[in-house]
Every structure is written in structure tokens, then in C-alpha cells.
């Protein structure tokens, strides 16, 4: 029986060793989810601000409504070109990348108990967290709709 303690997930990142394929796959998916969250957050903001719809977006970027519906439902088939096209169509913006270290950050205070509250009730809703290890900011003027 293997009784050795579980290796910290970021151990290879910390030590400079070869990062196993499993973990590379994890961080690729995580990055994709971060991109998706960023673009969707911009879409929802423009939907609220300027009544942008999926149909208008599709028209603006020259794609069919079904394609845009699929892109906005999941990042499964996204490429860098998809991100560029969507951000341009949603808000007249382009991605500007920044990244931050995974290491040295304190453990979050919002753990599973905080979701359930002190006595088992949900705490007050908080603003959604800023996401992940890679953040995309965008610039340039928005397209008026």
C-alpha cells in the first residue's frame, strides 16, 4: 500500500521539473475556461448596456446564428481567432494579455464551508471572483449598437 502523502498539485511548477501531461491538460482546459469566462462576461455586459443579441453579433462578425450560439455556449472549439472575432464583435475590443504566477498566492478564505454559511445557511452573495492565472484585458472603443 502506498502511504506517501499526496504530492502538492503545483510541485513540478514550483521545482522546475517536467510537468506531467495530465497537469498540462488541466492547465490548458483552465486557460480555455478563463478565456471563455472573459468573453462571456463582456457579452453579458454588452447585452445589458446596449441590448446586444446573439443575432446582432452573428451579423456583425459574418457568421451564422447557429455558429455564434455554439461559440457562446462553450469554448470547446475555440481558437485564438474565435476570441479575437468575438471580442471585436461584442465590444469593438481586442485581447490584451497578462498573466500571473500560480505560486505564492495565499489559500482562498472562501472554501466550501463559506458556501454553506456558519449555521448551514448561504452567506450573502458576493461579486463573482476574478478568474484564473491568465487575464485578458481589452482596449479600444466599443462599437455603438
Amino acid at each position: 500500500m502506498n502511504l506517501s502523502p499526496k504530492r502538492p498539485f503545483l510541485e513540478e511548477v514550483r521545482s522546475g521539473e517536467l510537468i506531467p501531461a495530465n497537469k498540462l491538460a488541466y492547465f490548458e482546459q483552465r486557460a480555455l475556461n478563463n478565456f471563455y469566462d472573459y468573453v462571456m462576461t463582456r457579452f453579458m455586459a454588452e447585452k445589458e448596456r446596449s441590448q446586444l443579441t446573439k443575432a446582432k453579433l452573428a451579423e456583425r462578425i459574418g457568421r451564422g446564428p447557429d455558429q455564434v450560439n455554439r461559440w457562446l455556449a462553450s469554448p470547446n472549439n475555440w481558437t485564438i481567432a474565435t476570441v479575437a472575432r468575438l471580442l471585436l464583435g461584442i465590444a469593438g475590443e481586442e485581447p490584451v494579455l497578462s498573466s500571473e504566477s500560480l505560486l505564492g498566492k495565499p489559500r482562498s478564505n472562501e472554501y466550501w464551508e463559506s458556501i454553506l454559511g456558519d449555521d448551514g445557511d448561504l452567506p450573502e452573495l458576493k461579486a463573482p471572483p476574478k478568474t484564473g492565472t491568465t487575464r485578458i484585458d481589452s482596449k479600444f472603443e466599443r462599437i455603438s449598437t
Partner: protein
């Protein structure tokens, strides 16, 4: 006892497990708790080395939910397509699947909402082909989907007697922030 207190009690008794975040600085904005079946999938061991990479991609998707990232939900059974969460038929059973679709095989994690933003997962399955010792769920009208739904309902009744899962029409009744309906314009 409130359902949230019941969840805490089950976690402390080792009957439910909170998702273990791989990056400890990630906050919990929503909750996923699961039974030993799903924990065994996430923790391994797996039947083949390549399963490990697929499981960690699923883990990244589950963490995305917990981190409060944007999701698309589909309350209409059979129409989920690319949505992250789809309600299964019949809606009265209140069972949803989390859909980690890429890469193949797609994986489905089945469960119910104990409260808004709190998902309890009871079972899982590979969508398109046998994988990691599990038979493919196959066609959405197939028997294994029915089995998964019954399994979820049965385990729910055992863990939460006297409590009903969340039901509703609008996605915000299940996920309060950064969720949109697949059908929204």
C-alpha cells in the same frame, strides 16, 4: 435541519466530498459536493494512463463552475447541445448533468441542486464510448440515462430525507450569477 446543515454533516461524516481545488488560492463562489462514485473518478486510479489527463480536464471544468465563471444552462431536456449544464427528462426528477464535452469521450456528471449555486453530484458516465471501466451512456433515450437518474434520486432520498431539490423555470433559480440560458437571445 436545513439542507445546508445536512450537507455539512455528510461532508464531516465522509458521505459527501467537496471538490478539492487544485489551485488553493481559487475561491469557492459556487459549490459542488459529490459522493464516493464521483470522488473515485476524480482521484483515480484509472484504467489507463490517458484517462488521467481527461479527468483533470473534467476537474478544470468543475472548478470553473465552483470559481463562479460564466456558464450556459439548458433547462429544456434533450436540447442542451453545447451547454455546460442540462436538465434531464423528466424535469420533475430535478436531475441535471454537468457536461464536459471535450475531448472525447465527453463525460457527464449527474446530480441535483440542493440550493441555488450548490450542486450535489451522485454519478457519472462517459457519453460516447466505454471508458475507465464504465459503459458508454450512449443514446440520450437509452436505458443507462434512466439508471443514472434513478440512482441520483435514490441517493438523494437517502442523504436528504424530507428535503426536495431545487426546481424552477429560469436558470437564475439554480445558478444566481453569470449563468445564461442556452435559448436566450
Amino acid at each position: 435541519m436545513s439542507i445546508k446543515a445536512a450537507i455539512k454533516r455528510h461532508v464531516r461524516a465522509g458521505r459527501l466530498f467537496p471538490l478539492d481545488m487544485n489551485v488553493e488560492s481559487d475561491p469557492w463562489a459556487r459549490g459542488i459536493f459529490f459522493t464516493g462514485e464521483v470522488k473515485a473518478l476524480l482521484d483515480g486510479p484509472w484504467t489507463a494512463p490517458e484517462c488521467g489527463a481527461r479527468v483533470l480536464q473534467l476537474q478544470a471544468d468543475l472548478e470553473s463552475f465552483v470559481r463562479g465563471q460564466s456558464i450556459v444552462m439548458c433547462p429544456e431536456p434533450f436540447e442542451a447541445d453545447d451547454a455546460f449544464l442540462g436538465r434531464l427528462h423528466p424535469p420533475a426528477e430535478r436531475v441535471w448533468d454537468i457536461r464536459s464535452r471535450n475531448p472525447s469521450p465527453g463525460l457527464r456528471v449527474f446530480g441535483l441542486f440542493a440550493a441555488p449555486d450548490v450542486f450535489i453530484a451522485f454519478d457519472w458516465g462517459p457519453r460516447s464510448r466505454d471508458w475507465n471501466g464504465r459503459q458508454a451512456l450512449g443514446n440520450r433515450y437509452g436505458l443507462l440515462w434512466e439508471v443514472a437518474i434513478r440512482n441520483c434520486r435514490g441517493q438523494w432520498a437517502e442523504l436528504f430525507p424530507g428535503h426536495e431539490a431545487v426546481e424552477g423555470v429560469e436558470v437564475h433559480e439554480f445558478v444566481t450569477q453569470k449563468a445564461i440560458s442556452r435559448r436566450s437571445s
